[in-house]
């Protein structure tokens, strides 16, 4: 159901209503699934009961504060998001399409995660998404449906249209919140009459039904402002020709038309009004907010959402976290600078051993300094930087011999270092306690927090902070002169050198930066595990880190994070889970395992880890070398730009007309 709506016109009430229906349904369904079918309602009710009668609640004050914050932020973000989408959408994409998308991308994953747990639920969802993309492309090709080019719909909004947009946002927020409030009221009344809702909460229900629409109104205004920030500017946002054309709107639009289709598509994603508002940059901001809210408050949400076993899950996520940091660090070396490093585990080991030797009684053996546990816990923080710097120094030292080498040799040499360093740690047992490893490594300290090997929550927050800082640092590095120099040497060293890039310095900096982050990860790992041993560091680990970067998307920061989580899940969770499932004789997997072990007696799901990774690597290299989430530049490189369509329109413009001149502008 597509309407020939041009955003330049004021939307009459009928079309606003259609948009309202479309997005309200689209966003309400996942919200309802979360709140009523999953545990959203439980979160709200437990928080309130805790606030109203603290004596009878199991939760202490800090937890309650966190829960309330979560509820406020989550639902406010949801309503604001709805308002934003209603404001921004041009209505060109049909309702059913959007509803199908939301079903596949939000509702089904919610159900899967609810029933199967976070990791396996997400893994299955990813599989379903893959299938969905494939099927959708097939259907589109067969039915010859092509999505309309985004440029047709871009227009500059004058003041009247801007007001209309804002009004739409406010209306959207208000009505969405109202519908949601009414629905919630109905559900709560049903619960009340069936006796499961305490009377006390009835007051809250009434309050909420009034508050939500009001909140919706104000959040709608907020979203309207956010949406308008991304609209094409009325005057000269991009420099236009003077007086070449009367209307302002055509100038900026023509500038966009000069861009190639792929670039225009990328630019159009950001602008308002938008054909695909769910994919726009503004919507991504909302997704970020929701994600951050979930991550921040996850430890208190987990017991309510997933039941028992929180500590184990949090410990697992803490472990996944340092893989993310390692992947980000390796991304600098392999992704940005294009230096294939197969020995990355060496720097990780160095970071771990630094804390291992300083943060435990080994300090006594090696340096003859008496070991004071409490003091060392506090020194963890400055030592993070120290270990990272030491690792960076070794990055420079180990990178120096490789400066003149080309890709393959570089890989082998770094692989060699990745082998030598653990051997050194193993054999120099006067300092490193050799094969027995170092035990009793200290956890860090923070005022007011009990921190030890058995408390996963502080480690969880620590790794979140570290990951946040690492991402920030990576983004700044990538966008700096150094980052651009890295990309230059990745593409063509000789050209880069001729353009004035100091090859030696740039490469050494790449190694040093990569090693810096792995040093941090190493320290975290040593502290969390409480010990270091040379078996933790082997070439197999280096391959896993490389797999994270490659599978996720070389050179792309969000891609690498996703790759790290995917690889970690396969490595630690999925195969181990399959093993535990298969060990249970009542399970279907058991029969599968028995059947396979008839042919291959040595088969366990844990054993075939390398097989799985190897096949994934080969398949990805052949079919999708840019990784799961490619950076735009990479995708253009590796696909040789065969996604570019020829702009037929520009071929038949006669010279001498103003439109002809625009073709001469090079992007």
């Amino acid at each position: 159901m597509s309407m020939p709506v041009s955003a330049a016109a004021l939307l009459p009430a009928r079309q606003t209503r259609t948009l309202l229906i479309k997005w309200t349904v689209a966003l309400l369904v996942p919200l309802i699934v979360f709140t009523f079918i999953w545990s959203g309602e439980a979160i709200v009710n437990t928080t309130l009961l805790g606030i109203i009668s603290p004596a009878s609640s199991n939760y202490d004050t800090p937890t309650l504060i966190q829960l309330s914050l979560f509820i406020l932020l989550f639902y406010a973000a949801a309503i604001a998001f709805a308002a934003y989408l209603i404001a921004v959408d041009t209505g060109r994409r049909g309702m059913l399409e959007v509803w199908l998308d939301v079903l596949i991308f939000a509702v089904i994953p919610l159900f899967l995660v609810m029933t199967l747990g976070l990791i396996i639920g997400l893994a299955l969802s990813a599989l379903i998404w893959g299938i969905y993309f494939y099927v959708r492309n097939l259907v589109r090709k067969m039915a010859h449906i092509t999505p309309p080019p985004p440029l047709q719909n871009l227009a500059v909004l004058n003041a009247e249209q801007r007001a209309a947009l804002k009004r739409r946002a406010v209306e959207g927020g208000f009505w969405f919140a109202t519908v949601f409030a009414v629905l919630w009221l109905v559900v709560d009344l049903i619960f009340f009459f069936s006796g499961t809702l305490p009377v006390i909460l009835l007051i809250w229900v009434a309050l909420r039904t009034i508050l939500l629409p009001v909140a919706g109104y104000f959040l709608g205004r907020l979203s309207g402002t956010i949406a308008l920030r991304r609209a094409l500017p009325a005057k000269g946002g991009k420099s236009g020709e003077n007086g070449a054309d009367g209307s302002d709107s055509t100038i900026s639009k023509r500038e966009l038309e000069v861009l190639s289709t792929t670039r225009a598509r990328e630019e159009a994603k950001d602008l308002v009004p938008n054909d695909l508002p769910l994919r726009s940059a503004g919507a991504q901001r909302f997704f970020m907010v929701l994600l951050v809210v979930f991550l921040l408050f996850y430890p208190v949400l987990d017991p309510i959402l997933f039941g028992s076993g929180t500590n184990g899950r949090l410990a697992g996520y803490g472990d996944a976290g340092f893989y993310v940091i390692l992947a980000l660090g390796l991304n600098i070396v392999v992704g940005f600078a294009g230096l294939l490093d197969l020995g990355y585990v060496a720097f990780f080991a160095i970071g771990a051993y630094v804390w291992g030797m300083v943060g435990s009684t080994q300090l006594n053996y090696v340096f003859n300094i008496p070991f004071n546990a409490t003091l060392m816990s506090w020194l963890f923080w400055p030592f993070l930087i120290v270990a990272a710097l030491i690792a960076a120094l070794w990055g420079v030292l180990l990178g120096a011999p490789t400066l003149r080498l080309r890709g393959d040799y570089l890989a082998i040499v770094t692989l060699g270092f990745g082998e030598i360093v653990p051997v050194v740690f193993l054999e120099m047992d006067k300092y490193t306690n050799g094969a027995n490893g170092i035990v009793g490594v200290q956890s860090p300290s923070f005022p007011g927090v009990i921190w030890s090997l058995i408390t996963p929550i502080p480690y969880y927050y620590l790794i979140l902070v570290l990951i946040g800082l690492t991402i920030l640092a990576n983004i700044r590095l990538r966008d700096s002169r150094l980052g651009r120099a890295w990309i230059a040497i990745r593409e063509d060293e000789i050209a880069a050198a001729s353009s004035g890039v100091n090859l030696v310095r740039t490469k050494l900096f790449a190694f040093a930066s990569g090693a810096f982050f792995s040093g941090i990860a190493g320290m975290y790992h040593a502290a969390k595990l409480g010990g270091v041993s040379p078996d933790n560091f082997s070439f197999g680990d280096s391959v896993i880190y490389l797999a994270m970067v490659v599978i996720g998307g070389i050179g792309n920061i969000p891609g690498v994070i996703v790759g790290a989580l995917v690889v970690y899940s396969i490595n630690e969770f999925i195969l181990a889970q399959l093993d535990t499932l298969a060990a249970d004789p009542t399970n279907f997997m058991h029969t599968v395992l028995v059947a396979i072990t008839h042919v291959f007696p040595a088969f366990t799901f844990g054993n075939i880890r390398n097989l799985v990774f190897g096949i994934i690597l080969i398949v990805i290299m052949i079919f999708r070398p840019e990784g799961l989430i490619p950076s735009a530049r990479r995708r253009r490189e590796l696909r040789h730009g065969n996604d570019e369509e020829v702009e037929v329109g520009s071929l038949d413009v006669p010279p001498g007309t103003p439109a002809f001149e625009s073709e001469v502008h090079v992007e």
Binding site: E419, M428, K430, F600, N610, L611
Partner: protein
């Protein structure tokens, strides 16, 4: 002194095995400029193939065939192993490397790592996680030249390697296919223009290289008596060092490098244990062999990347 010469002899035998594997590396690199990470694992599969073939023929670790039976068993298992590896090599090339022939350098390298992982795991699934014993069918006789002892197995290893190396050298220098291989290694497009079927030649190169690895697997099994799924990685890296030492792309260099590395690793075990006081390395040179070999690799690549017998080729724009 006798210890030195003794180690030298042992090193020669080990080096012969390294040389055969190194030949595979250097041939593939010469022709498609790809370091075949999976080559070491092809060697490992070769050992497993030989064991399986011998088991099929009824030979176990306790049987001691003699005379014609011995010779025929050895021939069959050696050739069978070589054939199996050769086919494996061709299949790998077809599946994992050919689609990536024109891709940027990173792609086939990572694909090779993937193949290596797959092969390792296949070896694990096939023969289990423990050491698999190789039937020591060749009678172990000690010959003495003065105080130095050399076993018949060592001699056999050296002899087989020599035969294969000479055969390879003859093939490359005197036959049409050899000429075609040299042409493709020198300039792939020009060779295609001259009527050489490049795809077929590359497949043949993989075939021969893998066959040599299979032979190496056979004699490795005879010499050391057992195999396990992860030896491919270790030996592969050492053999690659040998190839680089001799000059990658150069056949004689690979042979020379292999022998040199074998000798060096044997001599490294002579380094005393510094934990016992005095000069040496902690836990003695034997524990550091790997590190020493990699150190050599790094030194060569830094100071003389073209290897001992290679030519310095400047990097073209």
């Amino acid at each position: 002194m006798t210890l030195f010469v003794q180690e030298l002899v042992v090193g020669l035998a080990t080096g012969a095995i390294y040389a055969l594997i190194a030949l595979g590396y250097t041939m593939v690199y010469g022709i498609i400029e790809l370091i075949n990470f999976a080559h070491g694992d092809i060697f490992m599969m070769g050992t497993l193939f030989c064991i399986s073939i011998m088991n099929l023929m009824g030979v176990t670790t306790t049987s001691h065939p003699t005379g014609w039976a011995l010779i025929s068993i050895m021939l069959v298992s050696c050739l069978g192993g070589m054939l199996g590896c050769a086919i494996l090599g061709v299949v790998i090339e077809r599946i994992a490397y050919r689609p990536l022939r024109n891709a940027p350098r990173l792609a086939p390298l990572i694909s090779a790592i993937g193949v290596s992982l797959v092969l390792e795991n296949v070896g694990l699934l096939w023969k289990g996680i423990n050491y698999v014993s190789f039937p020591q069918i060749f009678p172990q006789v000690y010959y003495y030249i003065g105080p130095i002892s050399i076993t018949s197995v060592n001699i056999l290893v050296i002899v087989i390697s020599l035969i294969l190396m000479v055969a390879l050298q003859w093939m490359v220098s005197s036959t049409r296919i050899g000429r075609a291989m040299r042409a493709v290694a020198q300039d792939r497009e020009a060779a295609a223009l001259m009527g050489v079927n490049v795809d077929r030649i590359i497949a043949i190169t993989f075939f021969i290289g893998a066959a040599l690895a299979g032979a190496a697997g056979f004699i490795y099994g005879l010499q050391y008596g057992s195999t396990i799924f992860y030896i491919g990685f270790q030996l592969g890296l050492i053999a690659f060092t040998a190839a680089v030492l001799g000059g990658i792309g150069n056949l004689v260099g690979a042979m020379l490098g292999g022998v040199l590395i074998g000798v060096i690793s044997a001599l490294a075990s002579l380094i005393p244990d510094s934990n016992n006081g005095g000069f040496g390395l902690p836990h003695g040179g034997a524990a550091w062999t790997e590190a020493i070999i990699f150190a050599i690799l790094i030194l060569i690549l830094v100071f003389r990347p073209s290897g001992l017998l290679g030519q310095q080729t400047p990097e073209k724009v």
